[in-house]
């Protein structure tokens, strides 16, 4: 580890983002974004579609690199890490994909056992017990021998969660964990996220649009728009903080600071009316 990529870990902040700037296909996704994610808390990142919430998670895990700025995870700069350092860091980070991303060749048991088999030389009996413990925690011990295509959306999400916590990570990133779930499955996932945070102290970053769900479990909410954090605060009060951003986003208004129309040239010119007038 070089000195350039190591910084002093801050006890209160697990992820520190400074001046993050990302431009994709000419569109500014992040514009000198600053953000602190507190250790041991559930932080929810909200914002309109296409605002870069998933991209932000990819930056935190080093799956994508920014054009400028720094991201410190537990005091270490993700951008300066070699592949080996990045993989080492990821062993301490769980990631719940929007579509669960279970390995379709393996059954539920082998999906959860996969990281253990890849990174440890534990005896089979220990792997078996560890996997069954994680599956018991998400309520799916009885589904250990089912294949991913035999699971409902909620069950697949819970299996992915069991796989994400198999190494007891310091940080879990949830990318839209409630999308497509019925109320029962949603509450099950909600309860699991809360339990993991409160009992194991795992820092959680939750990307979601479901304010009702976020209100129940998040300690802090950040609203992203136009590449910056435009509002943040307590999830129970942020919707009524009076700013135009929060009023539009949480009120579901079609137009406002978050524009209805994608940037485009002059309408009349594009239709050919301007030339006809001449």
């Amino acid at each position: 580890m070089t000195d350039s990529v190591r910084a002093t870990p801050d006890d209160a902040t697990l992820v520190r983002i400074r001046g993050l700037t990302t431009v994709l296909n000419g569109k500014v996704i992040f514009d000198a974004l600053d953000m602190d994610i507190p250790r041991g808390k559930i932080t929810s990142i909200m914002g309109p579609s296409g605002t870069g919430k998933t991209t932000l998670l990819k930056h935190i895990t080093g799956q994508m690199h920014a054009d400028a700025g720094s991201i410190l995870v537990n005091g270490e700069n993700v951008a300066g890490m070699s592949r080996e350092q990045l993989y080492k860091m990821r062993e301490g980070v769980g990631y719940l994909f929007q579509n669960s991303a279970l390995l379709t060749d393996f059954d539920v048991f082998e999906n959860v056992a996969f990281p253990l088999r890849q990174h440890t030389r534990l005896p089979e009996v220990l792997i078996r017990n560890l996997v069954l413990m994680k599956l018991q925690a998400v309520g799916l011990r009885g589904a250990a021998r089912l294949m991913p295509n035999e699971l409902s959306g909620g069950m697949a999400r819970r299996v992915a969660l069991a796989r994400a916590i198999v190494f007891d990570p310091m940080l879990i990133l949830y990318d839209e964990p409630f999308v497509g779930l019925d109320p029962v499955a949603l509450n099950q996932v909600l309860k699991l996220i809360l339990t993991l945070n409160r009992t194991l102290g795992i820092t959680s970053v939750l990307v979601s649009h479901e304010l009702a769900a976020v209100e129940q479990i998040a300690d802090h909410v950040m609203l992203l728009s136009n590449g910056k954090v435009v509002a943040q605060g307590d999830p129970r009060t942020i919707a009524s903080d009076g700013s135009a951003w929060t009023r539009q986003f949480f009120g579901g208004e079609a137009d406002g600071p978050i524009p209805f129309r994608y940037p485009a040239g002059d309408y009349a010119t594009e239709l050919g009316f301007a030339e006809a007038k001449r």
Binding site: R90, V93, A101, L103, T104
Partner: protein, 258 residues
């Protein structure tokens, strides 16, 4: 003409870029071989999928190629009274050209497309990203085992194809058309040279074709846009690019090995 030049240049540039990227990808795959040694079981599993599962099509096609070749040759050679040489000509045609080339084309259609589609769908469903997030190198775990499996399977499949083609030729020539069994085998064994025909023809060519087809299949899988349409185009590109590469490489190898 002028209007078409930029587009033509663009296609040439894109093709050259693809070939360059494919070459760089080959280096990545080769560099990952030491890391993929811990995934020997995955390589064996892939060997089963691309090798053993391709056996039926290879055996059936080999049989029919040998049968039709013997039928054609018998009628041509009978004009000159040289039907006793049919077995030898079937064997030389199959060992030197038809065996490696047809096996590789069948392999590209059966196993190459399966590899591309599987990896492409793994990307589309975030399985590759999930591996990255679990600190598992997808090139070493997914790419290299499939590449090595193709490399190992192709010469073996080619041997099976050749054996079945000779058997098909024997079936038609000796059993059906009445060529003497002893003449069939003695002419063949007298003319077939182990180094020129078996090592250079069957083994070296099929090894080279196996490497090219597997490389193209894995490369297309890893670089396709992760969408249904992207995967569909990638599988088509695997067949097209593999077929062109096999036939072009066959010419180059034949020129050098003869």
């Amino acid at each position: 003409m002028n209007q078409h030049t930029p587009q033509g240049n663009n296609v040439v540039t894109q093709s050259l870029t693809q070939i360059g990227n494919c070459g760089l990808f080959l280096l990545t795959l080769l560099a990952a071989i030491p890391r993929s040694f811990r995934y020997v079981r995955e390589t064996i599993r892939q060997l089963w999928f691309v090798g053993a599962m391709s056996l039926t099509i290879i055996m059936v096609c080999g049989l029919f190629v040998g049968m039709v070749l013997m039928l054609q040759l018998y009628h041509v050679l009978s004009i000159f009274g040289g039907t006793s040489a049919s077995g030898m000509v079937v064997a030389l045609s199959v060992y030197r050209e038809l065996g490696p080339v047809v096996t590789a084309l069948l392999f590209a259609g059966r196993a190459g497309t399966a590899i591309t589609a599987e990896i492409g769908l793994m990307r589309a469903t975030d399985q590759i990203s999930a591996m990255e997030m679990m600190a598992v190198d997808p090139i070493a775990y997914v790419g290299t085992p499939r590449f090595l499996a193709g490399l190992i399977a192709m010469p073996l499949l080619c041997c099976v194809f050749c054996a079945m083609a000779v058997f098909g030729g024997h079936l038609v020539g000796v059993t059906w058309l009445g060529i003497d069994n002893g003449t069939f085998w003695s002419n063949m064994t007298a003319q077939v040279d182990v180094r020129t025909d078996i090592v250079n023809g069957v083994l070296l060519k099929s090894l080279a074709f196996g490497a090219v087809v597997s490389l193209i299949a894995v490369f297309q899988g890893f670089t396709t846009p992760p969408t249904s349409e992207g995967v569909a185009y990638a599988t088509t590109r695997t067949v097209v690019a593999s077929s062109i590469a096999i036939l072009a490489l066959d010419f180059v190898l034949t020129a050098f090995l003869m």
